[in-house]
């Protein structure tokens, strides 16, 4: 019988291959048998602290093995994991806790709130004898509450069931082709949907994960490839840009040894996609499009798509993707509408936000809030965020299209385009571009306008330019255009 949950798959792997390394962290190699013991110890401790089915366990999203033990231990008690971003300011942390009402908070900082709190440490969590008897969670049980980026007062807790997270793992494995023999480097934060999915996926499969600290020291994961013979890595596009900037083309001989790379969470430039496809001819370079609510719902492999590298890809295995109008009617090929998703990965909704949950579904489809279209072969393309669309005299303008052209200017490092009016005026002056320059010299706005002419329709050319030092972005690299308004 197939396992019904990630934790069930993990325990099966622990029984069949107890001596295999599950986690590599710093100089430590931790076997499946040891992880299994620590998970049951942490579960015993949480049980002693009164945690039971359905309770929330809020814990520090630090990248270390203790995170994995606490996460799986929470599921072993049929409780709900609430991983917390380590960079969360105190007021946001408090807001999330008040919203989730956890049965316990495991965090290094003592914050003023009414919930039981203890430090997130091995001394605390691994102090009990391993739990003997337990019920494995069922597919419909709530597994995780993941908070998506939002401003204060706006935090959205995405509910994910055991079935959702299991489907996220199974679907991406089916596409990527990774299995129990793989050794994957995880440089991503574990509280975030992408990094957490890769951790779950590998432990479910019985593979090995290497936890490394971000992208700042690429040497750490190059060492991981050479010393531990890593076969895969998961990355965000900005992580790859950092690696390239820091290591130039020295990344190539190391990355060539990888069987697969999974990219995701933010768009990647066509140039970088092409470069990777050429430089790493034998590596499966996969990229997902997804949201926490519907993990990796579209996937692409860079070598398989030929000229269609600019597409998001095709629906992931076991997932349906459609393009709908606001009226819920299906759009025809080439017509732009909202990208909607259906499948076992689909969240049941948001924690304590029934109105938002209701608005997020249409005829059983989850509304991504992203606009796109399909071609005749079923490839899906992204046009922009529904919230970001600029209305110029009734014509829809997608900021990403203008930014892509603007970024081709030799002096432009990055840009973000927003609407500076409400209500759809006619002039192009309703578009404002924020520009980060490459060197010290700022180009003149008139030069940028000249550059854009001929490449964009006149109504898409911004009427105003502002030079700034950085485009606001989320931790995973998604532009936060609303912060520029």
């Amino acid at each position: 019988m197939k396992p019904e949950s990630i934790v069930e798959g993990f325990f099966r792997s622990s029984e069949t291959q107890p001596d295999k390394t599950a986690i590599i962290w710093k100089d430590e190699k931790i076997t499946y048998a040891s992880v299994s013991e620590y998970v049951r110890k942490a579960a015993a401790f949480l049980k002693q602290m009164g945690i039971k089915k359905g309770d929330r366990v809020a814990f520090y999203g630090d990248k270390n093995p203790l995170f994995a033990y606490t996460y799986l231990a929470t599921h072993l008690l049929e409780a709900v994991a609430v991983p917390l971003d380590v960079k969360l300011p105190e007021d946001r942390l408090k807001e999330l806790l008040i919203q989730t009402e956890p049965g316990i908070v495991l965090h290094p900082t003592k914050v003023d709130h009414p919930f039981q709190q203890l430090p997130f440490s091995e001394e605390v969590l691994l102090s009990s004898a391993p739990l003997g008897d337990f019920n494995l969670p069922a597919g419909g049980d709530l597994a995780d509450l993941l908070f998506t980026t939002g401003t204060t007062g706006n935090a959205k807790g995405v509910k994910l069931t055991q079935q959702n997270i299991l489907a996220g793992a199974v679907n991406s494995n089916e596409f990527i082709g990774n299995d129990a023999s793989d050794i994957e480097i995880i440089p991503l934060p574990l509280h975030h949907a992408f990094g957490l999915r890769r951790l779950r996926t590998n432990l479910f499969l019985g593979a090995t994960v290497i936890l490394v600290d971000g992208f700042m020291f690429p040497k750490h994961f190059f060492d991981a490839i050479e010393v531990h013979a890593a076969t895969g890595i998961c990355m965000v596009p900005s992580g790859f840009s950092i690696v390239k900037k820091l290591m130039k083309d020295r990344y190539i001989p190391h990355f060539k040894k990888l069987k697969y790379i999974e990219f995701g969470s933010a768009p990647m430039s066509l140039d970088e996609k092409q470069e990777l496809a050429v430089e790493l001819p034998k590596t499966r370079i996969c990229m997902h499009f997804g949201l926490t609510e519907v993990a990796a719902n579209i996937l692409i492999e860079f070598h398989e798509v030929g000229e269609k590298l600019h597409a998001l890809g095709k629906p992931s295995p076991n997932v349906s993707v459609n393009i709908l109008g606001d009226d819920g009617e299906e759009k025809t090929v080439g017509e732009i509408g909202e990208i909607v998703v259906k499948g076992d990965i689909q969240t049941p909704g948001y924690w304590k936000k029934p109105e938002l949950t209701q608005k997020s579904f249409i005829n059983g489809w989850f509304r991504t809030g992203d606009l796109g279209y399909k071609d005749t072969e079923g490839y899906v393309y992204l046009s922009g965020r529904k919230d970001d669309v600029i209305n110029v005299g009734g014509k829809k303008v997608f900021p990403a299209e203008i930014e892509e052209v603007l970024n081709q200017h030799s002096a432009v490092k990055d840009s973000a385009v927003i609407s500076v009016h409400e209500g759809g005026k006619i002039t192009g002056k309703s578009i404002k571009a924020f520009v980060v320059v490459k060197g010290k010299e700022q180009p003149l706005p008139k030069d940028l306008i000249t550059f854009l002419r001929g490449k964009l329709e006149p109504f898409k050319i911004p009427g105003e330019f502002k030079f700034i030092s950085k485009i606001p972005a989320t931790a995973s690299g998604k532009k936060q255009r609303d912060k520029l308004k």
Binding site: I242, K245, M247, G439
Partner: protein, 77 residues
């Protein structure tokens, strides 16, 4: 401009914050991986040099940056 001032400017660090040779990514929130790239780029622009991947691999504090520059006969103090 000295290295401390350059890093303050690049990472938008408040005036009055003390930076020492031991200061590194663990001490300043804005010194994350993107901040690290911004610092390297700013140093390359400021001193008109190219920092090799090997040299970058050795940089984890302000003192390391100064050591790397000293090897190139650059003393920004």
């Amino acid at each position: 401009m000295n290295i401390e001032e350059l890093i303050k400017e690049v990472l938008f660090i408040e005036e009055g914050t003390q930076l020492t040779n031991e200061t590194g990514p663990n001490d300043i929130e804005a010194w994350d991986s993107l901040g690290h790239v911004d610092i390297i780029t700013a140093i390359e622009d400021e001193f008109d040099i190219e920092i090799s991947p090997e040299e970058i691999g050795e940089i984890s504090t302000i003192g390391d940056i100064k050591k790397m520059l000293a090897k190139k006969d650059i003393n920004p103090e």
